[in-house]
Point group: C2
Chain length 210, copies 2
């Protein structure tokens, strides 16, 4: 039981350090020092940094796969806003993964491939979602427009938090705002939103713009 | 003269290595080895890796600033496609900069701040551009929609090439396609494009989709 707790503390601490300082900059020695345990003790739980990264990556995959599986319940704009909000929260919680993807993929090629497979899953879920929104009349778009929207949505959820670092006045360490990010993503579908669904978008606009 | 040539060879070689292997992974020793010169010779030209990165960053800034200055000549969809194409070419040529931004910003905070200033310049240029397209009737959008479009355009040009690594079937080392990326960016404005300008979008769609 004590052993399980140490293992979990290592994972939590690694995640916080990777997020704050970058995957490349954080060694297992640094993680052990942060926890006040010996490198030998850490090594007993995880034989290499790669095994820590893999475990965190698996948790991230599980959260997104769960969200992908639940997109078939999205039937209206407010459902969509909520599912986008939850997705941004997950990506923010594991923000080192997409932010440090170039390094992650070159250091751990198997994880780079799993990240691609995850993107493929995200795209499939987004396409099904946009098709549902189209079929139920929430958006008015051609099948091709719905496909492009799905790609834009996955691109935006994947990269927005990394882009925020580049926007002046935003600090990389500042708390991300998943609600604002979700609203921004919704503006992609805004030209296609049918008049009945527009009121909710206007409500969000009043909340997040200016 | 020989000295100038060595200096330029160091910059070219550094750029190629940073792009291919990542900014974090490439040391000045690695760069010297690649060129077949001694670390001492490299040190004579650049006292630290930071000075090489700064010089490359300056060239990247200059290319984007030049593009930003020329956006006031964009009057039609085909001009816009061309300027987006040139922007993706510049970002691709210096692709390590946006791809490795988290590392770059934490290692060289002054460059992180200049990257933010550059984004601010890109946003201003994109806003002026969208306003021109609106004023000349190329797009039909409200002032607020034009502002959001400008943000989407800067976000997309900044992050698209990094996102491509995550799309299955694309190799990170594979040649990027600036034309396709420019077309993808144009799909953002597609719902707002007036009927006279739509033919060019249809031409590009035929070229790049399927």
């Amino acid at each position: 039981m004590a052993s399980l707790t140490t293992r979990e503390r290592i994972l939590q601490s690694s995640l916080a350090l990777f997020n704050a300082q970058g995957l490349a900059a954080v060694s297992t020695h640094r993680i052990a020092a942060e926890l006040g345990i010996s490198p030998g003790n850490l090594h007993y739980h995880f034989k290499a940094k790669q095994l820590i990264v893999e475990r965190l990556f698996r948790r991230f995959e599980e959260r997104l796969e769960e969200l992908n599986a639940s997109t078939d319940r999205v039937r209206a704009i407010d459902d969509l806003w909520l599912t986008l909000h939850l997705r941004f929260e997950a990506i923010d919680a594991y923000r080192f993964i997409y932010r440090d993807m170039a390094y992650l993929g070159s250091e751990y090629p198997a994880l780079g491939q799993r990240a691609q497979a995850l993107t493929a899953g995200n795209l499939l879920a987004a396409k099904a979602l946009c098709e549902t929104l189209r079929a139920t009349g929430v958006i008015e778009a051609t099948a091709e427009e719905a496909q492009i929207l799905a790609l834009q949505m996955v691109f935006t959820t994947t990269c927005w938090l990394s882009f925020e670092q580049l926007v002046p006045g935003r600090d990389a360490l500042q708390q991300a705002d998943p609600g604002l990010a979700a609203f921004y993503t919704l503006t992609l579908i805004s030209p296609y939103v049918s008049s009945e669904s527009r009121a909710y978008l206007d409500y969000l606009r009043g909340k997040y713009l200016r």
